[in-house]
Structures are given as structure tokens and as C-alpha cells.
Subunit: 675 residues, 3 copies
């Protein structure tokens, strides 16, 4: 229980010193109490190797503090000074397409490069030591958007060496590696760990999938280790008196890093919330944002999270796109808070005049004048501050949970199975897995069921009535056993297609699919097809929806049939007959006191609606459909009462729970409990 933290990202180094005081007062008057600074300032802090200069930030922090503001400090390791490159030119990361990153880009250092790691460690130590006792400091952000822009992956010589050590440690003997990877295939057996290549783009055919999967794990460990090292340094100097986080970025599982593990020694998870960015011609669906927020919240058990960068002005590096109305800008803020943000920093106070982000507009343009969005943001802070204070820090409670694993996300990136799951935003960001997870989250979101998103190793099944488990190919028998017991005890499990298809070592399971889930689901998969970008009709009684991406023909043993393929397949805009029309697509199996749904295809919006009405009912969860785009979110207030937050994501005026919400409007109702 604490006051909601309103913050803003500010870059004193980018403005003349004489403007600082005026800016600080204006920031404070705007309603902000916190300012994030310093996350790209290594060259200023250590202009010459080993010579630290804290003057600029000491002064800037003092000015901010004088105005009543506290600061969150970024450890500025996402870029490095030119002298470090000169010291060791091999410091630059090499992308899997074999292209090295040049000075001038960000996130360009290889995290396995010793020169970089040593320098970063010294810098962070110096920074932590210097600022530990500064009363203005409230918290720390480690690095910035760790793994972003493909920086999770590097294939340089330093990585190759570290990779061999990692393999040695994991497998012990090369025989063990050969057997686990199945290198008998294509004569790719190794006799020493040093022979194993790093996975690079190939002219044709790619590396062993287990090699790629292990490389993802190795790279994840590299990134995690880097963050943990910084966390330990900060903790050593600052103890628990400052909160520590690092900021994630869309889309949640697009890079290979195990963020759950990464956040372990940190205090709070954080996300950079950009529902629209660059040349996107429309924002992502609000449900996708809900999924991303729940994912962030799910990385820690606090039930809350931070937003370290919240969209204000239109943003992009070289191109721009959709302009949200100011009302939508603040609605996105309130959506984040509704789903658990208890501190939120806007990016950024004022637009930089120069350099790589001169098209990333902040609350103010470079001219420093009021903007439509600045007025609306200020007004919203004034309007909601008291409300948000009344529940900030109270955990969001959920009845359902979407469960994923890091390995399965990585596997889908290299083996998308269907072009319907293949979705590269650019050469380094694969959003297919996230888009699919958001689809399975939609069943909760459109019915206004608050749901968590958790990695399998961290979910406490007993907290939920309903678990959704899509794309769970690499399946852990221990977890399946837990799920089995939980279902028998009354839980409702929604299993997605391809569940149980692999062992944890990524071998095709030697049982009929869904493998270790077959018995609890009461079903077997007879055959399957990848639908690509096409679809197939799925019929439940008179109701007709569509399946997308994938279609499994099911043979129910003990399960009952919930829906069947309805016969028409759409490919490339053409209708085609389907030979497995009439075969079961979705089944439900009573298992002990609970149910297991098995869904052999990716449901479209209509089918999702049809299905989840029934699923939620089986789980004893109240569905509250208010129309697409309308959210009704309940939060518990500090005084024990309940507040219902109403969000209208549509561009039309809507009547919800006896309140009128203008386009992109936000409102709330407090229900006082009888004592």
C-alpha cells in the first residue's frame, strides 16, 4: 500500500543547464513526483577510462530534488563510450545474420565480451557507490530494454567461447550432447565441445533445432547473468532502500531471455508501454496490451508492476504512423494502472532536438509549448490521482491464468509450424508466439475476467479456477502431473493444439498426441494440417466460427465433442472443400471434479466468444461481456471496498454499468461493502 507514483523520463544532459530549474518546477507542478534519468549517460559519467565525473548528474539531481522530485537512475550500460571500443574493437555484437553492430547504434556490446563486462561492472559499482546515499534517489533501472532490437542474440567469437563452456557445463560429456541433440542425423556428431558452431543464418537449411534451442538458453543465461551482476552491485550499496527494476518492451516473448529468472533479484517488473510505435497504421488491439501487462505482472509475485516508459507523443526512429487522440493516450495510462501498474513514467518530458530519436515525440514538442496531449495528461493526473492512490500497490487478483514457457516461445520462433504463427515485425522481432498467446488471452479479456499470465515453473495452480495452456509442445511431465491433480480437484484446463508434442529435450514424444495429456484430455490427435494464413469453419451446433493457423482432427476416447470442423477452408482467398469436415475440433473431458478442454485449432473471435462462454461457466467464473472494446475491471481499495473501473476503447460513446463513457473514456464506480 503506497501512493501511486507518477513519473516522467527526462534527459538533463540534452538541455542547457540554465533550463533545468524551470523544467524541474514545471515537472513537479504537472503532478509528477519522480523522474527517470541517466540510462544512456556512460560517456558523460566516465569520459576517460577510469575517470568518473558525476558533476552533471549531481547538479541535475539537486535541481530536481529542490523542486520536490525524486529520481530513478538508469545504469547506463546500454551504450558505451568510444574509448571502450578503441580499447577492444571486438566488443561489438554480431547479429545472427553475420552483421556486426557499429558504434552509434545502441545495445551494441556483446555481453560475453570481457572488456565490456569488466568496464560495465566498474562503472555500475562507481555509480552505485556514488549515488547510494543521495536522498533524491528512489530507485534504479538496470540498463535499458535488455535484449531489445535483437541484442539478446550475438554470435561473436567471445560468445562462441562462452557457448562451448556453457555446453560443457550442461552436458558434461560430448556423448551426452550428441545423444540429446540427435546428431546422428546428417552426420553432425561432435567429438569436442569446441567444434559446435554458433547458429548463423544459412543459405539453406538450418542448424539442429536442439542446438538453436540451447543457444537461446545460453543467450538467455548470458543476459540474465549480466543483469544479476548489476543487481548484486546495486544491492550491495543500496540495500533495500531503493527499488530496483529493469524495463521490458513489446512484444513480451519476442526475444529469447527468461525474464522470470532475470527479475528474481529485482524488486518489481517493469514494461515500456507503446500500444503504437513507428509506422504502425493502427495501435495493437487493447487485448494484446492487456496480455502484455499481465505478462509483466506475472514475472513477480507482487501482483503489480511498473511502467518505465508510457507512450505520450507519436514515436518512431525514421517513420511515424497512427496518431491517437489525446483521450486515447490517457486511456492507455489508465488501462495500465487498472491492470496493476503502481508506478508509471511517461516517455518523455520533451522531444529531443537532435539525434536518433528526434522523431520520438514526448509530452511536449521541442518548442516546449502545451500540446493537446500534455493538457490531457495533466488533466488525467489531477482527475485520477486520488483514485489511483486508493488502490496502488494492492495486488490485482485473478481467477484465471494463461501459462507459457520460455522454451516453447523459443521453439516457435525457429519452428513456427504454420505461416499463421510466423510474424517477424523486422529481422529481429518475432511476434508470432505473442500474437497467438494474446488470442488465447482474449477469451478472458472480452468477458472481463482478470487473468494472469505466468510461466509454468512459477504458477500456483491452486490460485486459479481456470488454466489456459496453449502451444505447450515441450511438456514437463512433472507439471502435467500437477495439472492432472489440480483438474481432478475441480480445475478447468484449456489445452491448446500441439500440447505434449515434445519431450523437454525437444524430441517428438513417442506417444500419440497430446502425449502426456492424452489421458486427462480423453482424446487423441489423428492427423493435423497447418492452415497458414487461411482458416477453416468450426461448428458448435448452429453456431459457426473459424479455426485458424492449425487444424487437428481429434479422436475422443472419453471426451465429448464440443465442436466439429464445418467444412469450408479458405486459402489465399479461395474456398476449398475439406476432407475432414465433420471430425471433432474441440473436445471436453470430465476428469475427476474438473474438465479438460482440448482445442485443436486457433479460435477466431467468434469461436472464442462461443467457447469461452461455456468454459467460464464450467469454471464457475462470471463472464461479463460488455461489447468488444469495453473493459470493466475490479480493484480492491485500501479501505477494503471495491472499485469498478470502466474503460471504453472504442471511438464511440458507450453506456456501461449505468455510466456514459465518451469515446476512449474512463470512469469508475466505488461499491462500499457493508461492514
Amino acid at each position: 500500500m503506497h501512493n501511486f507514483i507518477w513519473g516522467v523520463d527526462y534527459y538533463p544532459e540534452q538541455w542547457e543547464k540554465k533550463r533545468w530549474a524551470e523544467d524541474a518546477v514545471r515537472i513537479r507542478n504537472f503532478g509528477f513526483t519522480h523522474v527517470r534519468i541517466m540510462e544512456f549517460a556512460w560517456a558523460l559519467l566516465e569520459p576517460v577510462e577510469g575517470t568518473y565525473d558525476f558533476t552533471l548528474f549531481d547538479e541535475a539531481i539537486q535541481v530536481l530534488y529542490n523542486a520536490g522530485l525524486q529520481v530513478v537512475l538508469g545504469t547506463p550500460t546500454a551504450t558505451f563510450p568510444i574509448w571502450l571500443l578503441e580499447k577492444d574493437p571486438s566488443i561489438r555484437a554480431v547479429f545472427s545474420n553475420r552483421m556486426d553492430r557499429d558504434f552509434g547504434a545502441r545495445r551494441l556490446a556483446c555481453l560475453n565480451n570481457k572488456t565490456y563486462r569488466d568496464a560495465a561492472r566498474k562503472l555500475v559499482t562507481a555509480v552505485a557507490e556514488h549515488f547510494a546515499e543521495n536522498p533524491a534517489v528512489a530507485g534504479w533501472q538496470i540498463d535499458n530494454e535488455i535484449g531489445h532490437e535483437g541484442s539478446d542474440h550475438c554470435i561473436c567469437a567471445s560468445c562462441e567461447r562462452a557457448w562451448h563452456e556453457w555446453l560443457q557445463k550442461k552436458y558434461g560429456t560430448i556423448k551426452n550432447l550428441n545423444e540429446t541433440w540427435g546428431t546422428v542425423f546428417w552426420s553432425t556428431s561432435y567429438s569436442r565441445f569446441e567444434q559446435v558452431p554458433v547458429p548463423r543464418s544459412q543459405p539453406a537449411t538450418q542448424q539442429n533445432p536442439s542446438l538453436i534451442l540451447d543457444y537461446d538458453r545460453f543467450m538467455s543465461d548470458t543476459n540474465v547473468d549480466f543483469v544479476h551482476e548489476q543487481a548484486a552491485i546495486l544491492r550491495r550499496f543500496c540495500g533495500k532502500k531503493h527499488w530496483i527494476t529493469t524495463n521490458l518492451y513489446p512484444s513480451p516473448l519476442s526475444q529469447c531471455i527468461d525474464m522470470k529468472k532475470l527479475f528474481e533479484p529485482l524488486d518489481i517488473a517493469a514494461y515500456d508501454n507503446y500500444p503504437v510505435w513507428g509506422d504502425q497504421s493502427e495501435p495493437v488491439p487493447y487485448i494484446f496490451t492487456n496480455y502484455a501487462l499481465a505478462y509483466t505482472r506475472g514475472l513477480k509475485s507482487t501482483g503489480n508492476f511498473a511502467i518505465m516508459e508510457q507512450f505520450t507523443g507519436i514515436q518512431g526512429h525514421t517513420k511515424l504512423g497512427y496518431l491517437p487522440p489525446p483521450e486515447q493516450v490517457v486511456l492507455w495510462t489508465n488501462q495500465a494502472v487498472a491492470h496493476g501498474a503502481d508506478r508509471l513514467f511517461y516517455f518523455r518530458w520533451r522531444t529531443a532536438p537532435f539525434a536518433q530519436e528526434q522523431l520520438c515525440y514526448g509530452i511536449f514538442d521541442t518548442d516546449n509549448e502545451d500540446t493537446p496531449r500534455s493538457k490531457k495528461i495533466k488533466e488525467n493526473i489531477e482527475h485520477t490521482a486520488e483514485l489511483f492512490n486508493s488502490f496502488a500497490g494492492n495486488p490485482v487478483s485473478a481467477q484465471a491464468c494463461l501459462v507459457y514457457t520460455r522454451d516453447n516461445a523459443n521453439l516457435i520462433r525457429q519452428q513456427p509450424l504454420s505461416t499463421g504463427l510466423e510474424n517477424w515485425m523486422n529481422s529481429w522481432s518475432s511476434v508470432g508466439f505473442d500474437a497467438e498467446l494474446a488470442r488465447w488471452y482474449a477469451g478472458f479479456s472480452i468477458f472481463n475476467v482478470e487473468a494472469d499470465v505466468k510461466p509454468a515453473e512459477a504458477v500456483t495452480l491452486q490460485n486459479y479456477k481456470l488454466i489456459s495452456l496453449p502451444l505447450y509442445e515441450l511438456a514437463d511431465p512433472a507439471f502435467a502431473q500437477k495439472i492432472d491433480a489440480w483438474v481432478k480437484d475441480g480445475g478447468v484446463l484449456v489445452l491448446g493444439w500441439r500440447a505434449g508434442a515434445r519431450t523437454l529435450e525437444n524430441w517428438n514424444i513417442d506417444k500419440p498426441l497430446p502425449g502426456i495429456f492424452s489421458e486427462m484430455a480423453g482424446v487423441q490427435v489423428e492427423a493435423f494440417e497447418a492452415l497458414g494464413k487461411g482458416s477453416i469453419g468450426v461448428r458448435r451446433g448452429f453456431l459457426l466460427g473459424k479455426g485458424e493457423v492449425w487444424a487437428e482432427q481429434l479422436i475422443p476416447y472419453t471426451a465429448e465433442v464440443i465442436a466439429r470442423y464445418g467444412g469450408t477452408r479458405w486459402i489465399n482467398g479461395k474456398k476449398a472443400k475439406v476432407f475432414y469436415s465433420g471430425k471433432p475440433a474441440i473436445t471436453r473431458n470430465q476428469h475427476g471434479k474438473g474438465f479438460v478442454y482440448y482445442i485443436g485449432t486457433s479460435p477466431d473471435a467468434v469461436l472464442t466468444f462461443i467457447l469461452y462462454k461455456k468454459i467460464l461457466h464450467d469454471a464457475g467464473i462470471k463472464a461479463r461481456f460488455k461489447g468488444y472494446g469495453i473493459e470493466v475491471v475490479q480493484r480492491t481499495l485500501n479501505d477494503g471496498n471495491t472499485c469498478t473501473l470502466l474503460l471504453n476503447h472504442t471511438d464511440k460513446t458507450r453506456r456501461v454499468c449505468f455510466k456514459t463513457l465518451p469515446p476512449y473514456g474512463f470512469s469508475w464506480k466505488i461499491k462500499r461493502h457493508k461492514r
Copy 2:
């Protein structure tokens, strides 16, 4: 005349030894008599340089033999052991986009690398020597899919050296090369062969087309030499007691290798028959498969061929697509047999649990249980075995022939002329030429006229009533003369647009087009246009079809006009007027006792139908149109009777020749000749 060979591809090394015996018995009981093994097993056979270990395969072969099975052995040179890479890191092939291939991929060795060639020669010698007298061995497959996945091309330093020698040998003097290539253009004359670059991807503008064409020929010679060397070794040890082949792959002319030459010392041509693969959302048209089968059959004069890999389960490396109904899977088998396969191996017995092809599903999944396709395949073997035995090995006889040349296929890859001919499936597979040839083959296939596909240097004109010669730009005067005589003698020639446009040295001909064909066709080309992905109306009387890809305006001299441009051109979905509306598009010239059709555009399906009715009639060939998707194929039985095979490639029940064929159904009728 021999029994039809039913085989399957099996990988003993991928399964625990204790499963072999059970597998072997089940394979035999399934109806198979042959098993292909060992084509990727170099690392097992020679785990350390010079040390051979045949134990595993000796044992496996014995187990198979004990169950009544014979084996076809792959010479396992398509991948190599890690020690060979360590011995010579320059062994890795470099793709024309400048990217070298990493260990872990397949087909990664440069065939001009001496280390690799020496090692491969020794291995194949050892293998041949060891297995020559094994009674279980029935045949050999050399390497695997030679040239596949862009491995036909390499631009490494070894290739550069060999390239210079090849040029020296071909041209003798650099002056000769300069003149032939026209290097006076752009000041690119060479003074020594060593100066000539290998053709790599360029930022802009490409190399001299004659250089690229010669590089294709050089690379073809490299691949051919590699296979011939292996063939000679096998023959040395095994003589004629085993049959030798190597397996091609779709699409026929996508790589640069002269397969006719390659198969010369081999016994039978072979093809890997995958009508659908990877993320294709539908199979290739059955006519394309017919074209590919006829192409394979045409590489040898036997009138038959082998299928070394026949589609069973859904297949792909990282993504899947269309699932054929089990009936279609077996129809594809029967289609291959109908058109001349006299031995057929299914790929693969059981799906591998691990590695690069874990998504390549075999007859069985990894779980080893019956599948819908396994049941249907077994049933089909039982149902057709006797029939296939009654004509296996009897040559397919054809009345028509589609003629191509290797050089012209290579030329179109570098100079596609029209975006309508440019069709890269991926960075290494160009299928535009094949798609166009299949279009010209369709005129035969839809009318159920069995037709051969032959390279110009191997066709015996006298065997045919009708010759189709599309995209014959590089034109051989000697061949034209032969054709001329054949037409005068009553043959019907269908000449495609652009015929005769170039000399054999790839110079623009210095005569009006169609150059050396102008007189026999009685026509000249006035002008031409590339239609790209658009089309143009082509009218024959009241009938209206479409021309695609290219449109030549013809001036008939002695020829009569068969069809004219009809006026509407479609570009990017927009209608446009055409100034050459009314000009001749297709002509026919009586030439001696025969006819020469000149077709100035690529006919669409409707125009093909209109045209070939007439063409076939002129050639005295009986057209039997039974609807698109219905095949009626005649084969001569061992007893001299004729069997009519009926294939229904549609998803509807069809009545054909008084038989009812269910969707994807297959049937036959035997007509007993009176003696």
C-alpha cells in the same frame, strides 16, 4: 519386365538397436521388399579419418535381410564428419550471396575442394568394397539430392581456381573468351583467365550473361564429374549386379546441373516426389507432377524411372502446410507408377524424434502407431501390387514430346525476360522455367496424351508425331535442321515465343525472330512486350482465351493466323487498351507434310484447351478430355494386353469410362487383345 519394387526409406542409426528386428518384420509385412538406408551416415562409417566401422550397417542389413528385405545403399557424401572440417576449414561451400555454409547444414561441401573430393573418393571406395558382395544389397543411390538447396552453386576459392582451368580448357585463348562473351562491352576484357571473377550477388547490375551461363555450365560439370566418379567406383566393385541411381528433387530444372549427362553412367533415373512440401497451402497441380515425372523418365532411354522418396506424411523443416487426404497420398503413388515409376520408396518409415527433420512425417509418427495414411498406403500396396507387377518395367510409350535444353533453363534464371517467368521459391530455387514448361505440357496432359520431356540433344524426333519447343532462345542450327526435316516429313511442331532469339553463344541472332525458325514457321516477330504478372486477351473466332507472360506481334508470311490479340490487357488488376489489338498472336504454317505452330504468348488454361484440340488433331493424336483432374493412362501389360489406368485428382466423385471414381480415387480396366 520385373516385379514392381515397393520400398521404404529407413534409418537404423536413428533408433535403438533393439527395435530393428521388430521394425524389419513390420516393414516386410507391410508389403515392402526393399529398404533404402545409409545416405547420411558418413560420420558413423568413418568416425575417425581412415578408420572405417561398418558394424552398425552390417548388423542392420543382416536384420533387414533376415526379414526378407533387400537394401539400396546411399553413398553418404551429402554430409561429412566434423573431423573433415577440422582438417580443412575451407571445405565449406560459399553461396552466390557470399554466405558460407556452416557445419550442421547439409550439402555444405564444395565439390571442387580437393580435401573433400579425396575423402569422399576414399569413403565411397571403402563402402563399395565392403558391401559389394553382400547379398542383401540390390542397388545404390549416389549421394542425396545432388545440387539441392543451392548446393549446385559455390563461389569459393577452390571453385575460382577450377573455374579458371575450365575456361582455359573451353576457350584456349583469352581472346576467344573475350570475343565470345563480348567483353568489349563496359571495358571488361580480360588478359588472363585468372582475372575472370566468379559471379557473386552485386549491389547493382550483374555480370556478363555469358559469364554467368558459363559458370552454370562449369558448375554442372563439377557436379556431374562428382557423381560420375562415384559411379565408376561403384561399378568397379559391383559391376552390373546392383542398379545405380541418384535422386532428383523438385523442381526439375531449378538448379543448373545437366541431369541428362549426370545420369549417363547410371542405370535408372530417380526422383523424390513431393507434390506438397513445407508451408505450401496446396499441392502443385497434378499436371506439374506429370511434367516432372516425364522429365525424370526422359533422362534415360529406359522408359521408366525410380522414386527414391515418395510423400507420405506432411513434411517441412520448420513449417507445415496442406494435409492431403490419405486417398490423395496413395493417388500420388499411383500417378507416379502410371507414368513410369517401376520402383518406389516411401519417405520415410517412421518420423525421427529429433534433429533438422523432426517435422518431416513418415508413414508412422514417432509413436509408431497406425495412422490414416499408413493404413491407406498398406491397403493400396495390397490392392495394386499384382497390377503393377503386370506392367512394371515396360516402357511408357508417348506420341508427343516436350523438348528443352539445359542452357535455356539457365538463361531464363538469370534473364527471366518477364516477371511472369520470375519465380523464386526461395533464395536458391528458381521455378519459373519449370512452371512455364509445365504450362506447355498441360496441352498434352489435359487431353490425356502421354508425352515425354526430353533434352534436345537426346530426343529422337522420329518417335513422335508432335514436338513442343517452348523458350528455345539459344537455338542450335543443327537441331533446327533436324526439326525442319522432321516437319517436312509430317511432324507437327509447336514453337514457343522467343524461339531462335539467340545463337548457341548467347548472342542476339542477327536475323528477324524467330531467327532460324522463321522460314519453317512462315512468320516474323514485329515487336514484343513483357506482360509481367498481367495478361492479354487472345481471340480465335468467337473463342476468347488469355495470353500471359509475353506477347509478340506476328507478321505471317506464308503462315495462316490461328488467333489474334483481343484487345484488353490486365495490369495490376486494371484494364488497359492495347495498341496491337487485332494483330496475330498465333500462326500455323504448312511446311512439307507437316505443320509449324508459332505461339507468340503463354496460353492460359482456356487458350490451351482451344489450341491443343486443333494441334492434336493436326498431329493425328487422339485427344481424350475427361475434365480437368481426370487422367486416363494406358500401359501395356507383360501379356501384351492394354490396361487403362483411371485417376481422379479432384475432390469429387467422378464417372470415368463407365467406372465410378470416388474423390482421389484410382481404378483400372484391362482390355484383352484378341490374338
Copy 3:
């Protein structure tokens, strides 16, 4: 005042010597008086380093001269002999995607490579010295298509060194550079010039925009210096007795070179006029060609220009496309002349049989026979020669001018702002800026208002009644001041969106947009959106057009509203509501005696029509709309009379000014002034 020069491009070195005489006579009889030769002949002229051999061209020139022809000589530096590469393998340019260019391509030398520059200087000196006194020589073309095919950019080691020197010279101190570029951002500050990288393709995020912009300027200086050096050599030997030019190519501003500066010491600007090339399925709109011609004309103050290559036959390196009717081929000629070409060379006399351009068809095919286009071209020369002689050399006079700057074109290439401005024809040609400028030029062209296209630093405002200034982001206060005075004095200024957004150093302006234009435009920009490939309704009274690319919401202070957003936005084919419907999109401000229009979006054809009627009226310029595709162009004859040229770019017969023009027809009327 001189006779119109009819010329043709001819390559004696590509044909047997014995054909020269016959060719020469035929060329002369065709109506040509000039022949361009030799621009790719370095290897012939200097077969061995330092040994020159002018025999071939001496003879060829003599043969041409004997037939009554004069020659224009290309300095053959666009390709170099193989011995130069052997002398210095580092001579090859490296493209920004890190790929070096191979021998065999053209434009492959780095212009900062000393070996190349020395050799080129010596060659040009030798050539100039040798041919200076040859009476057959009329002029010179320096190099060929300087900067084409991405050759304006190189990132090799030679460039890197020269770049550092260039920066040193420009900035003096590294501090100055750091401050100007804002390298405080992302810790990218430099301590020495040698540390600054060249801009290469990156895996993610690009270099500082100011670095990229400076690199463009540096590369422009490199190219300009190279041409100026050659010009000085030619001038030294030939004085003013030969005219000197170099030939540009489509699209005008696609490469980074400051062509205005480049042409300073040259006599006449020249353009290679290909309204269709390669696989284009239709020609560029005639208005785009008009824009390109006016751009070329605007590079010198002569009021005229040359065409060194004019389209004849269908053209492409590997693929072809649209075939223009012969009437359209000659219409394109006449269009170029109408807008100021006073000499025009057709590319090329006869199609080469071999090499990289064997698909670039000339007036004749390789067979040397008459073609439909050869007949029409000859007929047109006969038909128009006298007319063209009567005004050739008289300057085109314009009432309006479209103003651009080199920097802004470069900026848009790296920061396109909207996908609507991003248009890469291929990896090296960005045509988005040109396409947008052509859109703003259309307002003049469709109303038959002859307009100039001038760089801001060269425009004499007083010559015009109307100035259009689109995409003027980097805004020069001095120029703005001049414009201000000119408007006050009665001029009409059409300011495009984003005007004044940046300082000349590319900093976001610290004033509300349109920055330094705000006062004269009487307007401020409240907010903006990038429309990508979509559009938005723009309403003027009852008239409804569309805005594309970008949409600014305007707040008029002293300006009046001319048009407002009309509410519907189209994105990806879907209609969407727009929250700023009703807000001003276009304003007009009376400023002194003149007007400033501010246009906050890119007008589509309809909106352009609506707007320019009004704008032209305000400027006192007579609008003459004759329908899209009809041009009415006035030229002053040598005798002082006026000739009205009538061009029909449509495929329909049209009645214009009491004349009937067939499809693609051309005609004229002479109005004799009373004396």
C-alpha cells in the same frame, strides 16, 4: 539560337569495322547530325597502363565524319580496365550494405581511391589532348550517369579516411561536431575525427541522422570533385569550342549528389530520358517526366538542356515490361523538346548482340532491319526538324517554380516520416522524394502552366509569380526572409507540410511549426499524423478530395481556412473515423500584397485540381485545363512569334485547340504576332 541537334548513341567497338561506313551513312540519312561514342571504352584506349591506343576511335570518328556526322565523346571512366584492378584491388567501391562491387559491373570504382583517381585523371588528360583538335568533335559527356545504381555511396577504407578529413575541415574541432550532431545522445560523443564511423546497414537502429546527412554531403562533394576535375582537364584542352555535359538519369533526386553544384563548370545539363525501363508494367505519368525535365533544365540558367539517352526500344538488364506504341515513343521525344531539350540523342542505334545490355533494344534490333519504332522516329525527325530548329536554344520561360533543396531530399531518404514517402525502387534507388515533388508539380502541369524546378540557392524569386515549397524541413532563415519579402511584394507561396520543422543543422526547431514560416503563413500546427499508404478526406465547401501521406491539424491565426479534414480515413482498405475531422487542413494567409498557402497534407489528384484553380488565380496565372494527359506548351520562335505545341498523352483521339490529335499524337499551331 541554333539548330536542334538530333543525335544517336553508337558503339563502333561493338561492331565489325567493315560495318562502320554503312552504319554511318544510314545514321546520317536518318536525319542525325551527331553521334555519342566512347563512354565505356577505357580498356580499348589504354589496353596497358600508360600505353594509349586511339586507333579504333580515330578511325571510327573519321568514318562518321566522312558521312557528315559530328561526335560527342564520353570520358570513359564509368568502367576501368582489368589491369587497374590488379594494380589496386582496393579500388572497388563498397556499398552501404557492406557488399563490394565486382569487376564486370559498372560504376564500381571508389571515387576516393587514389589509384583510380590518378589513372582517371591521366586517361582523361590523354583523351582530351588527343581529340581536342579533331574537327569531328562537337562536345563531351563526362563519365556516364554519375552516381547511378548506388555508386554515389561508398563506405570503403579510402572513403573512411577522406570522410575524416572532410569532417575535420567542416567542423574544425570535434567538440563542434559533437554539439552539432547532438552526440550526447546514446553516449556517442567522439574525441577524435578518426573515430567517426561510416554509415553502414545495421542489424537494428541506424546512425545519428546528422552523421548520415553529413555523409551524403561528403559523398556529394566527392562526386562533384571528380566531375569538376574532368571538366577542368577538358576545358584546358578544348576551351569553349566544345560543349561539356554529363548525363543524369531517373529519378532526379534519388541519389545524394548536388547536381546543381556538379554542373557549375559544365555548359549544359543533360538527362537520360526513360519514361519506362526494365519490368515496369506502365510508364511513369507524363507529369513525372515533366517534373524531371524541368529539374534538369533548372540545374543551369540556360533555359535548356540536353537528352543524352532517349528511349527507343524496350529496355532492361534481365527483364522487360510495357511496350509503348511507336507513336508514344516519338511523343516522349517531342515532350522533352517542348520543355526545353535543344539536343537529343537516341539510345541506341542498334541493339548489342552480347553482354549486360543485350536486352536494351535500340532503334534497330540486332538484325538491323526496320522496326515500327525506327520508321516512326525517322518520320518524326522529318516532320518536326524545321519546327524544332525554329525555337531550339530559346529558353523556356516559366511563371511558377517548384523549389527544393538537396539536403531535404537526403533527409527524407533516411527519415521518410511516413511509409507514404518511402519508395525504394531497389536497394539503391529511393524515389519517394521525387514522387512527392512530382505531386506538387502536378498542380502546374495539369493546368498547362510551365514551371521551373530549382534548388533554393539558385532560384531568382523575382522571375516568378508563384513558388511551391514542399517538404522544406531543413529551413534556411535567409531564404525564408527573401521569400517573406517576395510574398509581401505580391508573390504567392505554396508551403507544404513539415515546412520549417528543422534548423539547417537538422535540429527540431524550438518554435511551433511551421517554425520560421509561422508568421507569414498565419498558422500553427497543432498535431500531425502519418497516413502511411492510407488517405483522409479533405473538404472544401462541397468539394471533396483526399489528403495522403501526412495530415497536420492546423490552427490558423491570421490565415483563413481553405479546406478541412472531412472525416474518413482509409487504412489498409478499411474505413476509420478520424478524431480531428473538421479541423483545418489547408489555409491561406494574406501577407503584404501576396498570399501564403499552407497545405498540411499531400493533395491527391482531385484536391490538387480544386486547390490549384484557386492558387493560380491568386497568382494571376492563366490556368488552361484540357483534360488529364493533354499538354499545351508555348514556345517563342526565333522570329519572335509564338508556337503552341499540342501533346496528347492519352490512348484516345482528342480535340485540342481546334486540332484533332490521334492517340499519342503531337501537333502545333503558330501564332504570328502583329508587328
